[in-house]
């Protein structure tokens, strides 16, 4: 009896580990930022090099920080969703224009619509490193106290928006 049970048991354990392990998405690196204060920065705005923005200015508001670039194809995929979100006035969105050319960024927004309250310009990607950005687009949900509550790596899909982002925004705003 043991002869058959033991291999069967080992097989079951292996199968369970593989089932879970292979189901994980290796691109979704658990972010160490959840529950931590959003790193401070001060950057010039995309449309107005003279004006500065720092996350401090958003204190008291629930907001999204969306990392985008004109060279990023996946950003184009999620862009209509952001435009729609902005039109419905659900949540203020700040864009972080990442490793881009200023003219390219501005032209891109003119062409595809500008859902951002404002965009900041990070041509060197320094703020990107501080936020642990490695795959554009990335989106951070930041609460009234300036704490990062959720991070999406990769484009926001309608499913992610409805199931993960909107409920969290509602909860934080409520």
């Amino acid at each position: 009896m043991m002869r058959y049970l033991l291999p069967l048991g080992i097989f079951a354990v292996l199968a369970a580990f593989l089932w879970v392990g292979l189901g994980l998405n290796p691109r979704e690196v658990p972010s160490p930022f959840i529950g931590k204060p959003a790193p401070a920065f001060e950057l010039a705005q995309l449309h107005d090099a003279g004006a500065k923005f720092s996350p401090q200015q958003m204190r008291g508001k629930v907001w999204l920080l969306n990392v985008w670039a004109s060279w990023c194809a996946a950003c184009r995929d999620e862009h209509p969703l952001l435009v729609d979100l902005a039109r419905r006035n659900v949540v203020p969105i700040v864009g972080l224009n990442y490793k881009d050319q200023r003219e390219d960024g501005i032209r891109w927004l003119r062409r595809f619509g500008d859902p951002y309250m404002l965009s900041v310009f990070d041509p060197e990607g320094g703020v990107g490193i501080d936020y642990g950005v490695y795959g554009v687009p990335e989106t951070f949900l930041i609460d009234r106290d300036g704490v990062i509550r959720y991070k999406r790596i990769g484009p926001i899909t309608p499913k992610v928006l409805d199931e993960e982002l909107l409920p969290r925004i509602k909860e934080l705003q409520g």
Partner: protein, 150 residues
């Protein structure tokens, strides 16, 4: 000829400048090799040519030059990218199985090995002869005895 010499001299100066501090350079190299590139996941940031890897290499270099310790630099990266950037995962409850796993498997393998050996020894020692074996044994003994008598 003179131009070629000038170019050679220039190259020599450039390489001398680049390796102004071999000790720091070695540290940058070692650190870069221990950090995983997040974009291309199976390469270290020393190997990868991805944009992000280049940026992170630059960051490591700047930090080394400004006198940060290895621990500070590793800490800086982990703070931003999580344990995932480390090729050598830290020992903590969620990784105990990872670290202990190979040794547990080795122990299990040894236990099975010892048991199989013991069982085989016991089988060889205690097993009574089957009828067939007994006939063969008798035949052999008889042959032997006949051989000696001759």
């Amino acid at each position: 000829m003179r131009r070629r010499f000038a170019i050679a001299l220039l190259l020599f100066c450039a390489s001398a400048l680049a390796s102004a501090n071999p000790e720091q350079e070695a540290r940058v190299k070692a650190l870069s090799e221990s950090l995983r590139c997040l974009v291309c996941q199976n390469q270290s940031i020393a190997e990868s040519n991805a944009d992000l890897a280049q940026d992170l290499r630059g960051q490591v270099e700047r930090m080394v030059q400004s006198g940060a310790t290895d621990d500070e630099i590793i800490g800086y990266m982990v703070e931003r990218y999580g344990d995932f950037v480390l090729y050598k995962p830290p020992v903590k409850p969620s990784t105990y199985l990872l670290w202990a796993g190979p040794f547990l498997l080795l122990l299990a393998g040894m236990a099975v090995f010892v048991r199989v050996l013991a069982r085989r020894n016991r089988a060889a020692a205690d097993a009574p002869l089957s009828d067939e074996e007994r006939h063969r044994l008798e035949a052999l003994l008889q042959e032997d005895a006949e051989g000696e008598r001759r």
